[in-house]
Symmetry: C2
Subunit: 297 residues, 2 copies
């Protein structure tokens, strides 16, 4: 029996887990050492920075990585596995990272055929595995929010929405930011934005509505970011409903973002459950490592 060093290695962050053979979490770390921060593609060095001490211990463990580290811009490209995909399909498609000393494997992302074209994910498949792959509809909010359907223990299909990235860029780089200041979340303004998203006009019009609400309807600069968030999450939810028609949604994530999705789902009359995203990542890495025979031997 060996321990497992497990990393969820994304574009901006790494979350690292040191896991005993029986699944007990021994230690965890989070560092802003995502792909963006890796100098000269020195992934081997970055890996040692974050997990070298765990790897150096006696009875050397194996390591398993998920996330953008398996993209063409990452350490080694792990080609997308096609949906529908179960835990075993991911475990069978691991790719070895080119490291001189350690046995490090990378989980592939998934691809599927959506309504208008292909879609992809990297990292979220591992969180879905960690959430148990029970049948149902899952939402993983974030920079690129994912909605996924699990059927028969397999990730059947999914869709991506650029909600989080559009929020950040509209806030920072468009005229909307001029009538906004950073402030605590305003639940009433969020609900107001959600309601606006359900009116006629569509997203391009409702983005401008953030400005007119500031100019003419007394929307305060402290409340405007929450209003914008309500507009965007409202549009994401409306389109995800059209695609997946959920009666119940499991939201995988943490903090305010999960709360906001829960509020939007509640207004829409859809039952919501929440799973912590970090727990799901650790559990998914452990489950895939087990299925691949990396732990018990």
């Amino acid at each position: 029996m060996t321990r497992l060093v497990a990393l969820d290695w994304g574009t901006t962050n790494i979350r690292a887990f040191h896991i005993a053979a029986d699944g007990t979490l021994l230690d965890r770390r989070e560092k802003p050492l995502g792909l963006q921060s890796v100098k000269n593609a020195n992934f081997a060095g970055a890996f040692r920075d974050i997990a070298g001490d765990w790897m150096a211990a006696p009875a050397r463990p194996r390591a398993l990585l998920c996330g953008m580290v398996g993209s063409a811009q990452g350490w080694i490209e792990a080609p997308y596995t096609a949906c529908p995909a179960a835990t075993g399909d991911l475990a069978a498609a691991l790719v070895a990272a080119p490291d001189a000393h350690y046995d490090i494997r990378v989980i592939p992302g998934l691809r599927c055929q959506g309504a208008g074209g292909p879609d992809v994910m990297r990292g979220e498949e591992t969180q879905l595995v960690g959430a148990g792959l029970g049948d149902g509809v899952y939402c993983l909010p974030g920079t690129h929010s994912k909605w996924a359907v699990v059927e028969g223990g397999r990730i059947a299909r999914f869709a991506t929405f650029m909600t989080g990235e559009l929020f950040a860029t509209a806030r920072k780089h468009t005229i909307l930011g001029r009538s906004m200041v950073d402030a605590q979340h305003d639940p009433a303004a969020f609900a107001q934005g959600y309601v606006r998203s359900t009116a006629a006009g569509g997203l391009l019009n409702h983005l401008f509505a953030v400005r007119t609400a500031s100019l003419l309807e007394g929307l305060q600069p402290q409340a405007a970011p929450s209003f914008l968030s309500g507009v965007l999450i409202g549009h994401e939810l409306a389109e995800a409903r059209k695609l997946f028609d959920p009666k119940r949604v499991v939201v995988i994530g943490a903090g305010l973002l999960v709360q906001n999705y829960a509020v939007a789902l509640a207004i829409a009359g859809i039952e919501a459950a929440a799973v912590n995203g970090e727990h799901a990542a650790a559990a998914g890495l452990y489950a895939i490592a087990s299925a691949a025979g990396l732990i018990a031997r």
Copy 2:
């Protein structure tokens, strides 16, 4: 009879026209001296920089301004006139700019009540006047595209879409820009993006589709901006159709943007006509000046 100095003064640019009493265009200038470039709110100085020689001539003319110069961030705030509004309503609501020497008036913008809340325009009302205010549906593409309905010679209602600004910010400040290079417009990629906009998933999903099309469908970096443009204009057109149900659309603008809207309208089976935006601005300024008695006296 006096001449008219007429300025369309926006956020980034000024277009200035020197117009004879009978409407003949004597001279025109365009400078990147929009609101953004005016230092210390010295609008009087900026006005002299662009039109001082025309004003200094014998038989001093009056000046008429439209655009963001009449906003709270401009020279003098000209409060929005309510829709429905005819040429005479705008002419009756001119506001004098606080200049020590010249008679300078500013055209108010318009406001209307849209499906989900209020909407506003500044400058486009003058182009609509210049296009003749014939009954029908008008589209003014741009940073903040406007669609307007004219009924009985009055601007009845309108809606704004943040299409142009979203294109620019997505191109420059999101992950989509990474798979793009500047290149000539690609009509086939534009049509491909338009078609994607008509699939399920909605705009937030179709924005991500620009990335997946690059990753998995061979969309080339030279063609990706045109694809994105097709996605965005497609969504704008779809929502404007829901609001205004046009059989024919007059597109006011110039160049590639007008061509792109004409292509989108053609694919959608809607008849399109084009009016040059600069001509419309000059004609509208002259028409409103005439209605206000600034020229013939």
